[in-house]
Amino acid sequence: MDAKSDDAARDRALALAARGGDRQAFASLVRRHQARLFNFLLRLLGRREVAMDLTQDTFLKAWSALPDWQPAARFSTWLFQIGRNAAFDVLRRQQRIDFVSYDAGNPADEPGDSAPSPEQQYADRQRLRLLERALAALPAEQREILLLRELEDMSYAELAVTLGINEGTVKSRLARARAAALLHYRDYTGEHRDE
């Protein structure tokens, strides 16, 4: 919680400087947010090249829009709002993007692993792969809200601002997304047969 508000305060200072034309301050903002924004866009759209393009476009749009940014608004929420709008522009124009599941990566990439057995590592990787498939099977709006909630740890108020919907809709969309994700997840793991 404290770390989150420290980050927000640092972002605010940098964004204020960038708004005054300080490119180095903007460079710091890019460094601080590019990985999370890229990860979100990649998991939302499923395509690395598109996510790379959109990450750059988002920062360029943010730079141009900085005069409109209100210091009361959390910079990261504002940035993700620009990014998700750009992503949905692409989705709308494309009707649908064939989502490509990417590999969950090496187990070594995962933080905090205390050397699990190879069998355990394999099982974990399989589980995450199935989860990625379940995510990919969701409508983009549901995938988006799950990612922002679970990966970006956004509150309902932040989700409402980012997605341009009210908190009641956040609540119901998130619940529907979870229910649908579970359904797919269980479908892939075969758990539903136990019920």
Binding site: A27, V30, E49, D53, Q94
Partner: protein
């Protein structure tokens, strides 16, 4: 389904409420009521733990970083000036000019900025960067190599 449980437990908690409970987004009275229901209803408790497991698994998804630091590319593509005082400056000058001249000046400025922003000189480095830095090693990033590459040109065209 609901007749598996004795009637006093019903009505069960909705997914909306369970999901908000998990996120600590319920106000105190609703939260306490829900907690009381959960303590006597295995069905809703199971549903909540399924939501919680899903949340935990999503939190364990490895985060995928871009293969290069994009800072340099982005800085290289930034238009020259952004300053909150700029609109005021131009608005001030425009007010001193006859309307027609002011409008012409605005359009000319817009065209000049547009050319600077979207001219080939500005767009090419981004495209080149994609080709250099986004090689997509087959097998490590995509499950289906074909699907990784086939629509690339199309998609890139859409974004630009």
């Amino acid at each position: 389904m609901s007749d598996l449980h004795p009637p006093p437990i019903a009505p069960h908690v909705t997914d909306d409420e369970l999901s908000a409970y998990l996120d600590a987004e319920l106000a105190a009275p609703a939260r306490q009521q829900l907690a009381a229901h959960l303590s006597v209803c295995p069905r809703c408790a199971d549903r909540l733990s399924a939501f919680a497991d899903l949340a935990a698994d999503l939190g364990r998804l490895p985060s995928v970083a871009p293969e290069v630091d994009l800072t340099g590319v982005i800085l290289g593509r930034l238009p020259p000036i952004v300053s909150p005082s700029r609109p005021t400056f131009w608005a001030g000058w425009r007010a001193l000019l006859p309307v027609g001249i002011g409008a012409t000046a605005s359009v000319a400025l817009g065209l000049a900025l547009g050319a600077a922003l979207f001219g080939t000189g500005a767009a090419l480095p981004g495209v080149a960067a994609m080709q250099v830095f986004d090689p997509l090693p087959p097998g490590s990033l995509c499950l289906g190599v074909d699907s990784c590459y086939t629509r690339h040109a199309n998609l890139t065209g859409v974004i630009r």
